[in-house]
Symmetry: C2
Subunit: 147 residues, 2 copies
DNA sequence: GCTGAAAAGTCCTATAT
DNA sequence: ATATAGGACTTTTCAGC
């Protein structure tokens, strides 16, 4: 799919605020609303626009510790682990990586005790290495041009 | 901030689709549109709703390799690194973690050559360990209840 | 804190270039 | 492929409960 400068601008604005009005997008890029709507529709159909999400601040809801956990899955447990991890509410990301500790998890917990409890649940499937997020310098940047 | 069952439902629907119409939210939770609008406004003001984002599929735009990179920052380079990393278009997340290799980066590149080129730019600031994302089992799950 | 109705604003569809 | 305009729909405002 070809993304011209206008579509990059539209993508940039949608990334900044998914609820922006068509009319404002249209004004910004210098096209009419129907045209912008059509361009967005095409990007959705092509899968370039995957979804419109709302970022919830879990810290404000009492989940103040962010964690990354690597797990070296025990032999033969991979499939069972992948099914299990989908059901764990504390975990929001699970990536299979190259390297020794092949699974990387991102999660959120209320406090150290909650983390310990989460670790126990996960440890069934393999050896864990847990790191706390001390500070997120950047989290979910906007892509607005080719690089 | 107190999040009752209705607000959780609203948050859940907004996380699934940030562009959902107020009218549909209202119908789903059994309240009028103005009430739902007011509840959303309050959650925005309280910082519980942080932002409305659009997820762009970078794979479809030619950036087919996702990577996690840990970097052990050279002594004294932390601040310079944190300023630098904000300007690197390939990197979308940067977290300071507990543990030995204190910075975790998430990025996206076109191909191995592009990755090599990115690594060279980053290696100025410390020792790198790069892992490719082979498969994302889960990426950005929806939180829809207390746990 | 919620509702309902009216006003304001936005979006969609059809038509035209 | 884009623009314009009218009608349809959605959101917001506000008086009242």
């Amino acid at each position: 799919m070809k993304i011209d400068e206008i579509n990059w601008k539209i993508l940039q604005m949608l990334q900044e605020n998914a609820r922006v009005a068509l009319k404002d997008l249209a004004k910004e890029v210098g096209l009419s609303s129907p045209t912008v709507a059509e361009r967005i529709q095409k990007m959705e159909d092509a899968g370039v626009i995957e979804s419109y999400n709302t970022k919830v601040n879990l810290d404000k809801l009492g989940y103040s510790l962010g964690v990354y956990i690597t797990i070296k899955i025990r032999f033969g447990q991979t499939q069972r682990f992948e099914e299990f991890i989908l059901t764990v509410p504390e975990i929001s990301e699970c990536h299979k990586l190259t390297g020794r500790d092949c699974m990387l998890l991102r999660g959120v917990v209320r406090d150290p005790k909650h983390l310990e409890e989460l670790n126990v649940r996960l440890a069934v499937y393999g050896e864990l290495t847990t790191s706390l997020i001390l500070n997120s310098v950047m989290d979910g940047k906007i892509y607005c041009e080719h690089f």
